[in-house]
Symmetry: C2
Subunit: 124 residues, 2 copies
């Protein structure tokens, strides 16, 4: 066995209620991660794909946020009902789920349509 074929990081960061950036945890990222992990196990992917908990990925306004490496595909606004498609299309089929991919101009930036007023980058 060698390194993971894919390493999926699901942000489970939790901020205090009312924080202007929000957080992935408040948008059910933890159960989404559990569902991804369970589906991967059922599909026999557990040894090749790791569904990892991550601290803040600093894309809070786009949460729940997931990044898949090594291809560096960033998913945003992921919902529980998207899990099956991510597993089948991307983790098994190898093709990112385009409708969930965050635009390049939304990643790692203080200004994007989802961020109010250019909040400072930060995170945990």
């Amino acid at each position: 066995m060698a390194e993971f074929e894919r390493h999926v990081f699901v942000c489970i960061n939790e901020r205090a209620p009312g924080h202007p950036r929000g957080c992935c945890s408040a948008k059910d990222s933890a159960p989404i991660r559990e569902a991804l992990k369970a589906r991967c196990k059922l599909e026999g992917l557990a040894a090749r794909v790791r569904i990892n908990k991550s601290a803040c990925l600093d894309q809070c306004e786009h949460g729940p946020t997931i990044v898949v490496y090594p291809e560096a595909v960033w998913y945003g606004f992921v919902k529980m009902e998207d899990v099956e498609e991510i597993v089948q299309t991307h983790l098994i089929g190898g093709a990112p789920v385009q409708r969930l991919v965050l635009p390049q101009e939304c990643i790692n930036t203080p200004h994007c349509p989802h961020r109010a007023g250019g909040v400072q980058l930060g995170g945990l």
Copy 2:
């Protein structure tokens, strides 16, 4: 600005004292991560390189464990005194610090020279 040039995940998982697999947190991974982050900031890398906290990377016996994407370079047994070399050689210079790279046969496996008796894969 676009996605990170490099995304560095430092395992800060904490297990109960005496757990047979140990944990990265008990081996000072949190201060190592802080030092990496501070050095990257000083070097002007903060916008291009993210030094992320990660939950369990499931390589506990090799901890403190760090994985650098997108190149999927796994570092093990990282010490505070290795931080400068990782920043200068890898994150600035682009060349992994070979002396810290975990052998392929040690990653994602229940059996390797560092694992006692083939402990089950698991983690958080």
